[in-house]
Amino acid sequence: MLKEILYYTWGAVVSFVLAFSVGITYMGLNRKVTARVQNRIGPPWYQNFLDVIKLGSKKTAIHHGVMHHLGPAFLMVSSVMSLLIIPILNNGRFYPNLNFHGDLIFLLYIMTFGPLGMALGAGQTGNPNSAIGVTRGLAQMAGFEIPWVMALVALMIQYKTTSIVDLMNIQAETGRWLMFSSPFAFIAAIMAMFGMFRYSPFDIVGAPSELASGPMSENGGKYLFTMMSSGSVFAFAKLTLYTDLFLGGADNLLVLVLKTFVLYMIPVLYGVVNPRYRTEQAVRWFWGWPSFFGLLAILQASFF
């Protein structure tokens, strides 16, 4: 029993470290790629590691109340929970994660838990930029959650399972990735991903020229450290989830990194050449074509 607990804990730690380092590297590569598009050399790929260490080593003397302290913690909890549920490699080859039947539904809830906690925390700072940023974030979440849930529901209906591992096994057995066997769900999910990653044109939450940095306005030093690390973990978790669901999972870490990186570059490169939407335009966008594809996916799943 004790051995099993230790094994699981160790697995959690290892997957956290992996997710953290890969996520932070991706963010650094994002900056590098953006810089190259913009005719610059750009920072080194490890720049975000330095940023995170620096933020963590800053003295932090901001006090706005208990919820404000807990906001970044909620974010972290949400990211780590989602990471623990999402299987990292096929056939449980990596350290075991806590997957179970119905985890896809649980994931839908836990992924929105963090932003909600953050919203409470940002609300308590009393900074109008934070408050407006939070309302924008929630509005945008209401936008992209619809195609995202539709895509997942379509998968659940089509394969009659609510477990991620089952979906991965189906792909492994048939040898066909779900992105080909249920293409509409894949398109809807990818479009929802633009909103999840909050890169341009959907960076309306922390739009600098409008709201300073939105919900993070009052968070510096260690708060920002927590948020940045949870953001990188969450990014990796989401990318892994997409790989698991649509790209047939990965047999080893190298394949995983490759697949997630390709996925990650989609919103990044789209964002470099686009200005940002207004809030209502963004929501309308998500409720337009992405939701239509989601609907098609559900129809396909129900009738074919």
Binding site: R40, I132, S200, I204, S209, V272, N274, P275, R276, R278
Partner: protein, 367 residues
């Protein structure tokens, strides 16, 4: 009853503000119901300092009035002093002045590209255009010795003649700029999201524009063709062939298009100036500046900058020092009463973009 409106302070420390100023916004939901501009963060009392200095020393203060585009201010001052004194300017100096003014216009429009696109979240354009602006600043550096503050156009002419081979360099840079402008336009004006964000936003009706004294590209964006360069031609603009573009949209999109087309006209003017550049003197020498007395009287001269007309009112009491030097900035009109009028009813997401499209330049307001 509880008040529904929140107060949002846009500035003075805010990434979206166009300099060191503040706009206090009352917002209901996402809509601005009241806007109040607060300025004065950059008040250096130039006009007071000008009264302490002689006519030539005042000239070094002039370029610092508006930081993004200092040359039209120098030009206004130089011309006002020349009008007051009745001093002739050599023909070559006039051409060089036009060359410098148009290069400055091009450079400031590059900066504007960055600001306008950056305010809407398209940072790539800003990185490109502000980077390419350095090529124009290089030309300025060779000509005047300074990147930002040139102190070049002074009463009586210009400070230096063109260096050898300068014309070819300018033409080469213009060829490069023309290529690059095409890239910017492809990325910015062909973008559906940019179009969606700017069309129908920040509307100034033509009647309101006249009433508020709007000048420059915002006025031309309302379909009213007014440009100091054609209405009251100064230097050699009446000998040059160029168009003044107008648009009918009255919104940010229209103003952006006016500016986009004006950049091409600038390049055209620069090519003509280089082509027609006469030989001869470049400076009508002023007497010893310590004893340089201007006749009593006053003068007011205007120049077209990228934000609109800028003017310089100069009054002399017959001594070595000016009695009054008063600068009229385009942003002085745009950023206070007009901005307060335009922002009402707009979305807070668009405030920064509207400010950029009006060309608010705080140092010019506060001086």
């Amino acid at each position: 009853m509880r008040e529904k409106a929140t107060t949002l302070y846009l500035g003075p420390q805010h990434p979206g503000i166009t300099g060191n100023m503040m706009v206090r916004l009352k917002v209901e939901g996402d809509t601005v119901v009241k806007a109040v501009t607060e300025v004065g963060y950059l008040h250096r009392a130039f006009e007071k300092l000008a009264e302490q200095r002689n006519w030539l020393q005042t000239f070094t203060l002039m370029c610092r009035f508006c930081v993004p585009e200092p040359d039209p201010v120098e030009e206004s001052y130089a011309r006002a002093v020349e009008t007051l004194e009745g001093r002739e300017v050599p023909e070559r100096a006039k051409y060089i002045r036009v060359l410098v003014l148009e290069l400055a216009r091009l450079g400031s429009y590059m900066l504007w590209y960055g600001g306008q696109a950056g305010s809407l979240g398209l940072y790539t354009i800003g990185q490109w255009s502000v980077g390419d602006r350095n090529y124009i600043l290089d030309l300025f550096e060779e000509l005047t010795g300074g990147r930002v503050y040139h102190m070049y156009i002074w009463p009586g002419g210009v400070r230096r003649d063109l260096p050898a081979g300068f014309e070819e360099k300018v033409l080469k840079t213009m060829d490069y700029m023309e290529q690059r402008l095409k890239d910017y336009e492809d990325l910015m004006f062909d973008n559906a999201i940019f179009r969606k964000r700017t069309q129908g936003v920040g509307i100034i009706e033509p009647e309101k524009a006249i009433e508020h004294g709007v000048v420059g590209p915002p006025l031309r964006g309302c379909g009213i063709k007014h440009d100091v360069r054609i209405d009251e031609p100064y230097e050699v603009y009446d000998k040059l062939d160029f168009e003044v573009p107008t648009e009918d949209g009255c919104d940010i999109w229209a103003r952006a298009n006016v500016r986009r087309r004006e950049m091409h006209q600038s390049i055209r003017i620069i090519r003509q100036v280089i082509d027609q550049m006469p030989k001869g003197e470049f400076y009508n020498k002023i007497p010893n500046p310590q004893k340089w007395r201007l006749p009593q009287g006053d003068a007011y001269e205007r120049t077209e900058a990228i934000r609109g007309e800028v003017g310089m009112y100069v009054a002399s009491d017959g001594t070595e020092k000016p009695r009054r030097v008063h600068f009229r900035g385009a942003a002085y009109v745009h950023a206070v009463t007009l901005l307060e009028h335009v922002l009402v009813g707009e979305n807070i997401a668009d405030v920064s973009a509207i400010m950029n499209s009006l060309g608010t330049c705080p140092p010019e307001i506060e001086r």
